[in-house]
């Protein structure tokens, strides 16, 4: 492994910015976030970076590394060509605050528009429920989400077309799927998914699934089944016929 590497980091704020090169010592076993911290401590104390657990469990340090949305804490330098400068940019689908930090607050506001969990009455006299493990497992995949928003970042509806006010994006479709398929839930979100959250904007390019650090099968397991529910409710020709009859 090389003993030094150059990191070309985007520095700037909402008014604009530019890439700046930093050369720093690197050692075996380092991840991108380690290099950023080293630069921050030694060369650029005001370099803005958001991070927290540094173990791939909190989803704070999302950025674009050589153009690919990734967690900086889980990207080892040994996976990257260090002969060239390593390009680090903030996520593109959200407004920049400063340097590598973006304003992701829209995700939190949009989540509130999804109807919350509404359980059926308890199954047992003591106020508890009986649930089979198989039913738990179906939604556990969705509940692994660490809310890193990399899927939102790569979604072209948000990234290219900026439809944040009309479309909730893959993360929140996974959230809606977790609620819709929750074994105790009684709420109906299908109408909202079609009319408010515009699930129809998704044309299943699977980019979101490919960047998910938790390997959630976002498109096949969450979005497509939700689309099927919308189709069942609104576009099934047989049901339509029954309604006419």
């Amino acid at each position: 492994m090389a003993s030094a590497a150059t990191f070309r980091i985007w520095r700037g704020d909402p008014a604009g910015g530019a890439f700046q090169d930093y050369s720093t010592a690197v050692e075996e076993g380092m991840v991108v976030l380690d290099a950023v911290h080293r630069i921050q401590a030694q060369q650029a104390t005001d370099l803005a970076v958001r991070w927290n657990c540094k173990a791939g469990k909190c989803g704070s340090c999302s950025a674009e590394i050589n153009g690919i949305p990734k967690l900086m804490c889980m990207t080892r330098l040994s996976e990257i060509n260090l002969e060239m400068p390593v390009i680090l940019e903030p996520m593109h689908a959200f407004p920049v605050i400063r340097d590598l930090v973006t304003d992701v607050s829209w995700n939190f506001r949009a989540k509130k528009t999804i109807k919350q969990f509404k359980p059926r009455p308890p199954d047992a006299a003591d106020g508890t429920w009986r649930i089979q493990q198989a039913d738990v497992e179906r939604v556990q995949e969705f509940r692994k989400c660490i809310e890193c928003f990399l899927c939102q970042d790569v979604c072209h509806v948000l990234r290219e077309h900026h439809k944040h006010e009309e479309f909730i994006g893959p993360r929140l479709l996974v959230y809606a799927a977790a609620l819709e398929m929750h074994p105790l839930d009684t709420e109906d979100r299908v109408g909202d998914l079609r009319h408010i959250h515009n699930i129809g904007y998704c044309n299943i390019t699977t980019c979101c699934r490919q960047v998910c650090p938790e390997s959630i099968t976002i498109t096949e397991n969450a979005i497509i089944p939700l689309k099927e529910r919308v189709v069942d409710k609104y576009f099934d020709p047989l049901k339509r016929l029954f309604r006419i009859l």
Binding site: D46, A48, C53, C58, K111, Q116, T128, V139, I146
Partner: protein, 604 residues
């Protein structure tokens, strides 16, 4: 003169991990207007890292379990220095709090008849931990977050709190700044709940994330609250030591439970060399017997690798200090050796320890089915914290409450695994309820404008000093290094005296910290503020550890290696004296009521 954005609440919750969110939900349900201030984004707090589960005597798996057994287990684990009232309430109320989480959408693993499944864990007599695979903490924080956002609480994300405000001895709110723009904020409140978590970042090697700089403890201390049990810092014996990027990340006890062994650089299983007399009868004599134990032979005794966490951590430390450590300053933990004992060992390891297999594969490029891991002790949890009333969670400052890791009492000298998640919901709920009651019973507060102006001016000091001041990151590294070396797992009078001197020098350097750039999302500025808090908790840990001249639970004194009966009747309490100096005193435990004494005796 700095401008403040102003907000007014009945209850202000500082911290948005499990305890803070549970407190905010409860205060809101009691009719209070609630504000939440947190250092990170919502849902990123350290609660997400918890794996094992949440301890509650639901008795779903073993119907012999009850609050009485859970209470006795918790007291034994804490070496009877616990606040018995908190241990009692915790054991009684944890089951209800787990059921509440389920009603809000948490999905725990199930028993065959569809109830919440529970697993075994160290120190718990019966299977007691409700869990979701190995990501229970994430399930818990997401459940509280998703429920909480619909309860009307206002959340201020990514804020630094600079000080708590007082109005004639009573709490009046807090002031700080938002990280995004660096704008000063004033959160006026009739009651405040501190739910700021731990102090792990005061040490070099820790399983804690960057936030855990002891802010809540330092803020409460400066506001006049008492701290307690600060000497009890839990060091987990097995954290990763290499690569540097992951030093401190936990390696689960399960590796040793499945037959993993600890060896030094000479290949020796050193744990056999030091088995405490108290455990001789329960510990295997030979490697053969230890192996049979891990494979479920009920006639075999446990291998010495499965002795208590504090003891294993000290043995590892001794090997490293004696020069028999691994290349990166740990020892070897080997599970791959079991291939000598069983066919298809690699598949077996991957099935039993999937997350460990992936953790090492992904972060260390190491295949644990083929090679030994390097491990060493890691700072894990703070048993001590803000001293509170067991029922209401109110500190010694009227209107200031504390819950979760920031509060002291429940765990005494040592915490049992699984009791931290239940701590968050049981006492978060109580703190929220009593804070709302306090706000209702007490009128509005008056803010001391001069004080907030001087706080803001002091906070801007690092900008005035600029790049010629001390680099705040360097001060932080130096403090972590010294705390690790001088007040770590093995403590001795002379080293801790030396630490006090170093802390004094670091305080002076921290006061001269200087930074570049502007106030917008400036990590250097945040660090310059954090180090002031880290220095307060480091001094408190050191002074308490110096005063307790015995070894008990998480505290090990090389110069006083035994337990002392007299110290077994006392906590150590710390408060800020009138002259600004830190005062340390020993205080007798509250006498335990006879019915609880009877429970302890019965379960012995």
């Amino acid at each position: 003169m700095p401008e403040f954005q102003r907000f007014s609440y009945d209850v202000l919750v500082i911290g948005a991990g499990g305890a803070g969110l549970r407190a905010a939900i409860e205060a809101g349900a009691a009719g209070a207007k609630v504000g939440v201030v947190c250092k990170s984004l919502l849902g990123k707090a350290h609660t997400v890292m918890a794996e094992g589960g949440i301890a509650a005597a639901l008795a779903n798996v073993d119907d012999r379990d009850s609050w009485r057994v859970h209470f006795a287990d918790t007291m034994r684990g804490g070496q009877y220095l616990n606040n018995w009232r908190m241990a009692e309430l915790h054991a009684k109320e944890a089951p209800e709090c787990v059921r509440e989480l389920e009603a809000w959408g948490a999905l725990f693993d199930r028993t065959p008849d569809g109830r919440i499944l529970q697993r075994n864990f160290g120190g718990h007599r019966y299977p007691r931990l409700a869990h979701v695979g190995d990501r229970t903490g994430l399930e818990m924080i997401r459940t509280l977050q998703d429920h909480g956002i619909h309860t009307g609480m206002e959340v201020h994300m990514e804020c630094t709190v600079l000080s708590l405000l007082l109005d004639g001895g009573r709490i009046a709110g807090a002031c700080g700044y938002d990280r995004e723009k660096g704008r000063f904020q004033l959160w006026e409140a009739k009651a405040v709940v501190m739910a700021t978590g731990g102090i792990g970042r005061a040490f070099k090697v820790t399983s804690n994330s960057w936030e855990y700089t002891g802010d809540g403890l330092a803020l409460a201390y400066r506001a006049g609250a008492e701290l307690q049990d600060m000497e009890f810092v839990q060091f987990h014996p097995t954290g990763m030591v290499w690569p540097i990027s992951v030093a401190g990340i936990l390696v689960t006890e399960g590796v040793r439970g499945e037959g993993g062994v600890l060896r030094n650089s000479e290949g020796r299983r050193f744990m056999f060399d030091d088995i405490p007399d108290l455990y001789k009868e329960q510990t295997a004599d030979t490697e053969e017997e230890g192996w049979r134990y891990t494979q479920g032979d009920k006639n075999a005794r446990r291998p010495p690798e499965l002795l208590t966490r504090d003891h294993v951590a000290r043995c590892i430390n001794r090997e490293v200090k004696a020069g028999r450590g691994s290349p990166h300053g740990g020892v070897f933990l080997d599970i791959s050796w079991i291939k000598e004992r069983m066919p298809k060992a690699a598949e077996h390891i991957k099935r039993k320890l999937p997350s460990m297999y992936h953790q090492f594969k992904q972060l260390a490029d190491l295949d644990i089915t083929k090679e030994p891991m390097e491990v060493g002790p890691t700072t894990h949890y703070m048993m001590g914290g803000i001293r509170v009333d067991g029922d209401s969670q109110m500190s010694t400052v009227p209107g200031l409450f504390a819950a979760g890791e920031a509060a002291a009492g429940l765990h005494g000298a040592n915490r049992l695994g699984g009791n931290s998640l239940s701590d968050l919901v049981v006492f978060g709920k109580r703190a929220g309820r009593f804070a709302a009651e306090f706000a209702r019973a007490n009128g509005s507060v008056t803010i001391d404008e001069t004080e907030i102006q001087s706080t803001a001016a002091a906070a801007l000091g690092p900008f005035d000093r600029g790049p010629s001041g001390e680099n705040p990151y360097q001060v932080q590294y130096d403090l972590q290094e010294k705390m690790q070396d001088l007040v770590g797992i093995v403590r001795v009078e002379s080293e801790m005296q030396q630490a006090l001197g170093v802390i004094g020098q670091l305080r002076a350097r921290a006061e001269r910290a200087g930074i570049t750039g502007n106030r917008e999302y400036n990590n250097g500025w945040h660090t310059a503020i954090d180090i002031g808090n880290m220095i307060v908790v480091s001094e408190a840990i050191t002074r308490a550890a110096l005063l307790r001249k015995e070894s008990r639970g998480a505290q090990f004194r090389e110069d006083f290696p035994g337990k002392d009966a007299e110290w077994g009747k006392h906590n150590i309490v710390i408060r800020r004296g009138a002259d600004g100096e830190m005062q340390v005193e020993r205080r007798a435990l509250m006498p335990m009521p006879d019915e609880l004494k009877a429970v302890v005796e019965e379960m012995k």
